[in-house]
């Protein structure tokens, strides 16, 4: 009986997901598409939860629904209400159709093959056996921040590169609708709650689902909400501090790695005694950087006064260096 019920739950989840995905992609109205995309992100979080993967559920809810949704909204801000797909030539149509068909066939084959494969090497046992010396008790955090720390460092570098590209290309986008007093009133208690939740996710990531990426994205969501409710709030922000915040994650990460290299002869080889503390320090710095990066990406470009700041630098260089 229970298996039948689980089956029905799964079938309904899959149908909901397919319906949301289909309507998202086939919408001619971009606003409708983005709304359904956000709804789909939230549904995916529920699906991950049902699959007993709370870390993924957290990441999907915050990043997939919140941040991606906000970024998409930021992107379509200058579109007309019903953006119709461009007229394509019949040749383009057939190329797209063939490609999509090929992709579907390949992915179906891969899924089928994967379902019928034997179990293979299960890495979870290796992770579990080494968990005691990793410094944390949450296996996902152990993998991300200890066993595969180098990958996480590179991910942070990718995020930074993306944000640098945004900063180079654009000025800050124009503000959107003027917020009313009710929104500002809600923001006053919601933003502190979001910040506290972000800190909680960061702290609890050592022994329960959570971690730097979730915490950083949640902090970015808090900043996005703040920006929506008080549109001029970014103007007073110290831009030098902002630049420091952007890079502090990678900086602390590399510094720790080099220190471990001097102690243990290997870049990012954590000594078991200090691993827990080091991971927490790295995660805190990474959280701040991720939050700064995602917020800047949402704002859409250089905040006000960025160039004035840099003009000062350039003037000094032209005069032959700082005096």
């Amino acid at each position: 009986m229970i298996e039948i019920l689980w089956f029905m739950v799964d079938v309904m989840l899959v149908l909901l997901l397919l319906a949301l995905a289909w309507t998202t992609c086939s919408s001619r109205d971009v606003m409708r598409a983005v709304t359904l995309f956000i709804a789909m992100g939230l549904l995916l979080a529920i699906i991950w939860a049902r699959l007993k993967a709370p870390d993924l559920a957290l990441a999907e809810a915050i990043i997939g629904a919140g941040i991606s949704g906000a970024l998409l909204l930021s992107a379509i801000r200058d579109y007309p209400s019903t953006a119709i797909a461009v007229d394509r030539s019949p040749l383009m149509h057939s190329i797209i159709n063939t490609f999509t068909m090929a992709l579907t066939i390949v992915m179906s084959w891969a899924a089928w093959h994967g379902l019928n494969m034997s179990d293979g090497v299960r890495l979870s046992e290796q992770v579990a056996s080494q968990l005691a010396v990793s410094g944390v008790s949450n296996p996902v955090t152990a993998v991300l921040l200890n066993f595969r720390a180098y990958d996480t460092l590179l991910e942070l570098a990718v995020v930074l590169t993306a944000v640098l590209t945004v900063l180079i290309l654009n000025d800050k986008r124009a503000d959107s609708t003027a917020p009313g007093p009710l929104l500002q009133g809600m923001t006053r208690w919601l933003v502190p709650l979001l910040v506290v939740t972000s800190g909680y996710l960061l702290w609890v990531g050592a022994h329960a689902p959570g971690g730097a990426f979730q915490a950083g994205a949640m902090l970015a969501a808090a900043m996005i909400l703040l920006q929506l409710a008080y549109p001029s709030i970014h103007q007073g922000f110290n831009l030098y501090l902002l630049k420091i915040l952007l890079v502090i994650g990678i900086f602390i990460f590399v510094l720790t790695g080099l220190w471990m290299m001097s102690v243990n002869d290997d870049f990012l080889a954590f000594s078991p005694a200090h691993a827990g503390t080091l991971i927490l320090v790295i995660e805190t710095a990474a959280t701040i950087s991720i939050a700064a990066a995602l917020t800047l990406a949402y704002i859409g470009g250089r905040p006000t006064g960025w160039e004035a700041d840099n003009h000062g630098n350039r003037a000094m260089t032209e005069k032959g260096g700082a005096e």
């Binding site: 009986m1 229970i2 019920l5 029905m8 739950v9 309904m12 909901l16 319906a19 949301l20 309507t23 606003m31 409708r32 983005v34 709304t35 359904l36 956000i38 709804a39 939230l42 549904l43 979080a45 529920i46 939860a49 049902r50 007993k52 709370p54 870390d55 559920a57 957290l58 809810a61 915050i62 629904a65 919140g66 949704g69 906000a70 909204l73 801000r77 200058d78 579109y79 007309p80 209400s81 959107s176 609708t177 917020p179 929104l183 919601l190 709650l193 979001l194 909680y200 609890v204 022994h207 329960a208 689902p209 959570g210 979730q214 949640m218 969501a221 996005i224 909400l225 929506l228 409710a229």
Partner: protein, 95 residues
């Protein structure tokens, strides 16, 4: 983190049927989101999944005995709000 005490099987059956009914109500609500003539009807999809999803997650936390799902429910609720606010406030050029 696993909480103590396993749910009996009748309880599990009852809770699972509750989840199915909740998913059904999500489905019904989403029909309005797909059809809805005005854009506010679309926003209600996000609100709907925000509350309905929280209920589903809380029940799943009991059935699957995973305490972390309460955190996921909290995060889901928070982000449904931020998402709705972002949707509303980005509306300037879409009237």
């Amino acid at each position: 983190m696993i909480s103590a005490g396993a749910a009996s099987s009748i309880l599990t059956i009852a809770l699972l049927s509750a989840v199915i009914v909740l998913l059904l109500s999500l489905f019904i609500g989403l029909i309005r989101a797909w059809l809805g003539p005005s854009v506010e009807d679309r926003f209600s999809a996000v609100l709907l999944i925000g509350t309905g999803g929280v209920a589903i997650l809380m029940i799943l936390a009991i059935v699957l005995q995973i305490s972390a799902l309460y955190d996921v429910a909290l995060v889901l609720a928070l982000l449904a709000v931020v998402g709705t606010v972002a949707l509303i406030q980005s509306e300037r050029t879409h009237d």
